[in-house]
Symmetry: C2
Subunit: 689 residues, 2 copies
Amino acid sequence: MKYLGTFLMVLCVSFIGLAQKTIEVNSPDSRLRLNVTLQQNGEVTYSVLLKNNAIIKPSSLGFRLSKPALLLNHFKIVSVDTSTHYDTWTPVWGEVKTITNHYKEVKLNLKSVNAGNVLVQIVFRLFNDGVGFSYEFPEQANFKHFVVDEELTQFNLAGNNKTFWIPGDYDTNEYLYNTTKFSDIHALAAAHKEKDIALQSLIADNAIQTPLMMKTPEGIYVNIHEAALVNYPVMHLLADRKNFKLTTHLTPDAVGNKAYLQTPAKTPWRTIIISDKATDILASKTILNLNEPSKIENTSWIKPQKFIGMWWEMHVGKATWEKSSGKHGANTANVKKYIDFASENGFDGVLVEGWNEGWEDWFGNWKEEVFDFVTPYADYNLDELLAYAKQKGVKLIMHHETSGSATNYERRIDKAFQLMNEKGINTVKTGYVGKIIPRGEHHDSQWMVNHYNRVADKAIDYKIMLEAHESVRPTGLHRTYPNWLANEAARGNEFNNAPTLGLVPEHETILPFTRLMGGPMDYTPGFFRMHLNQFVPERKTRVRTTIAKQLALYVTMYSPLQMAGDLPENFNVHPDLLQFIKDVPVDWDDTKILEAEPGDYITIARKQKGKDNWFVGAVSDENTHKATINFNFLDKGTKYQAIIYRDAPNADWNTNPEAYIIEKVMVDSNSILSINLAKGGGCAISIFK
Amino acid sequence: MKYLGTFLMVLCVSFIGLAQKTIEVNSPDSRLRLNVTLQQNGEVTYSVLLKNNAIIKPSSLGFRLSKPALLLNHFKIVSVDTSTHYDTWTPVWGEVKTITNHYKEVKLNLKSVNAGNVLVQIVFRLFNDGVGFSYEFPEQANFKHFVVDEELTQFNLAGNNKTFWIPGDYDTNEYLYNTTKFSDIHALAAAHKEKDIALQSLIADNAIQTPLMMKTPEGIYVNIHEAALVNYPVMHLLADRKNFKLTTHLTPDAVGNKAYLQTPAKTPWRTIIISDKATDILASKTILNLNEPSKIENTSWIKPQKFIGMWWEMHVGKATWEKSSGKHGANTANVKKYIDFASENGFDGVLVEGWNEGWEDWFGNWKEEVFDFVTPYADYNLDELLAYAKQKGVKLIMHHETSGSATNYERRIDKAFQLMNEKGINTVKTGYVGKIIPRGEHHDSQWMVNHYNRVADKAIDYKIMLEAHESVRPTGLHRTYPNWLANEAARGNEFNNAPTLGLVPEHETILPFTRLMGGPMDYTPGFFRMHLNQFVPERKTRVRTTIAKQLALYVTMYSPLQMAGDLPENFNVHPDLLQFIKDVPVDWDDTKILEAEPGDYITIARKQKGKDNWFVGAVSDENTHKATINFNFLDKGTKYQAIIYRDAPNADWNTNPEAYIIEKVMVDSNSILSINLAKGGGCAISIFK
């Protein structure tokens, strides 16, 4: 990380009226403007404008504390600090080689009035593509420990935005996205349609989750989320559907409190990414920039990975996690087949679910001691498989399903990680299916946020790479924890097998604008058998994409940890398509968002880490889309061979999903290709120098 | 442990009416009778009689479950198993050398009617001095995991008993005892008088705690408690003050559930100790007998101990736990003085509180990560003190105050115990002051019960002896965990420094009938400066006993872990009295309860483990008492020298507490001594062969 400069900026401080005081800041490129105002009554508000168009109207800030019982939303300004920051930094892995961190900062040093003289700092950072702000509570003599009853942050929208939302829920984010006008948000009705989510903890009909993607009536794209969620609960949002206003609703703990803090304390950053181009939203690094640098000094043990897994057999009813059924998937012979397949096709790892004792009653009983994370089933010979995998040049990936019992996991995690160290297993997939223990806590409450982060810290101690399922949705913490490769934390590809709503073709055109804004997702793309009834027959489930789109997802859904989700025998039906998955890398030197519209289409080109190869992915929603790919990102004057994996002209996610064409063409930086994506379709292109 | 015999007994099964069926069992000595009846409506009731006098009238049994939602209180009898058991066993330490375990057992194999056909077993064990019963849920096809909403056990008393009670409270049992008629129980009023208890979680005006001591209008002594509290919440009792009926009220968890169980499951034993002699209550081993045998095979590392501690300095304001005050007690030089004193006077150990970082804000903030249990304050040189103590032949005793944050302790306990192993510290005092984390759990809820037991298990792994403060009150688990030497879990001697109610002279005549029924207490006797204002002057606090009574407590308050509570300099004022504390052992071959009346007086003689010495303690309440000591427990025809430490004739706990007489007399098995105990007084006698 390089700090190239921090210098004082000249502030435009205007005095409107008698006591009202406004601080105005422009983004480094002057595109965005932030106004922070101390209102006459002592309220502090902020507003954000893009090219003089109000995006966020004056919105108030503050806190309601339960201990001490204080309402912190009227202040006087003690002082204001301003600065400009510019540096670049190199992520351990990522979409680009180097990230620029350029912002103007305004720090308001406030003192609460009529409420305890509490010192509060509100820090704004204005980037070219958005704004982040957080509250800080510095050390002070008479205010040390405090309990947050609610954070009173507002996002006062300028109009009735088109909104991509999922219902507010303390325990799950595995919902389909709803696309409605802001005024038409109805979270409960939407949630009640979702029969495939085992555990719902709904909040209110107007409660929605972040990352929240919106488009203003004027066509401006706005994304609201948070960055660096540490020692604080997840922020949900309550929509005032009449006045187009959002207010924070923090996830409560078992007794209804939101957060227990001790000065010096700070909240996560509240982020608003704004652009008139949807592609800028996807390219934004503001959430990452608002996170702290890596905790890990020597990161040589961290490697992006492609992997397959013993898991989909269980989802489609071919095998089970539990041994007692008589068709236990994770038996030694079966896992060897996966190792063979991984080895033959160049995958780094094989995830094995159902390897350990406890699956007989792992779910639904709020049982505390389900798994011990170290005892394999009798038919799973760990040492034999480790030796076999080693000989084949493949790594096993550990699976720690906690069934939501975080207390049990915390008690056993050292032994579990010690076993991994002993056996040379350096990646773990954790899972949090079911109601949380400590009972009364939620997946999104402060205690659990701390738990996930503790696990990531512990993984650092043991040099273990981590991905978490059913955990809190990410907030850019992978900058700080580069060993934390990915999360699920949204509706993944596995929902193609869900018995009711499942997935819809537009899902993958929304996820990059929502869930992925916070960090990589283990979406598990790569399903090669698409037709009805190929899974559990009685469910009549099926994949809702064309087969070409499954390939495109490896590019459009960024993750340093990419699975090929399907069964080996299904991949073997289409070895020509499998070639793309074998070729596509999981780490990149550059990324170009070529075109994007949330809910409609996304086309992205990425340059392989350390190589001159590029890969393009394009996906459509339930409609056809003509993807336009301008290859001007290629080196000038150089010819490249492009292998295009695209939908056949008669392809259709619903009626003809496995119809594809593979063609090889030569391209250069002057090439422009128009490629027709089928309904629910996609296109993947490998481009080799 | 020896099983001398198990054989079938002949049952008296009578049929009264058409469907009502009663099983009648007599205790081995025929003194007690238990009737178990299947009522016509399917209810199962039990009643207990002493010599044909009803003590417990027919009382119903059952459960209300929340998941599955079932009311399990109507049954049909599948079968009845009966047996008689006799064996003797040798405790690792205790009041007697050998314990006889003799009972008749009736096991009802029941099936619930109108509610799920759940198999429930109710097991009764009838001893000569009482009855224990527990519910068992055997493995069965259609009933596996279940959640207890409430246990529906009744104790239907025969009359308006004199009752020694403390208010029902999920988080503390540090109350003064109230002595009222059963009909006059008013828990809330009593609790609200108690200003010295920092954390109260009261239940209801009619809620009281166990062990519950009562005396019937006919003069029969009845004690209700539980044995072997494992994986279940603490049982409180709700008093129907009109009908003299008690019903169970289990401690809820954070979401209001009581217990999460999985078949095979069993509840703790509900115990009713009954005798027409109060001394039999104190001598009862029924609660111990109902616990499982020792988990520890090689117990050679377990040693009863006498110790002093760096703690009272803090209570009386001479020093502080925290270092930031500038008068940190646990500094190296100061602790050396304690080691010197312990070494000079033959104490085994020195407890050091406030040795570790975190005390600056350890209490009252529901803070999760207060202590790490391994980092000493900079002015506490652990290694230097360990070397010094070793050279002086004294052990340091570790202190792990958790401030109620059990999750934090569980995460750090391995490192904490590893440190103890490395440093050769083999005893730990744990503490649970404050609101529990996981937040919403209580000191008495199932999760915390499991926590305390987990700590005891972990202590076995590390060969560590344990005593817990502010933990759940014991239920005889020290049979199973002989490394778990003692608990606080009641109002201890430290309350002499409490600013309001403090202690009362009768307190120590009630505790053995209540709190101590479940197991040893770390009461911290041995205060030598008794007068007003010797502690924190502004509190006007003082010890509410005579000085001789402080000595007597070492005999009347059984514990294998006895502290001498006062400051070294206070002991040095009365070296002649200190001699008794130096002489009195903490492990015994025999115990004779010579006389006892709850709330009035107790006189006990105990024989030193492995030696022919006896020690007598006698205590009175706020009245004088003439203790009659018949020495017929001594070996016939042998002369013993008795050193009597007694109240001077003008002694009085209130007006003249430090007036005492020490005299030496010769006694033999024909001797009978009458000794006058002052108001709040006592007498201690060492008897050497």
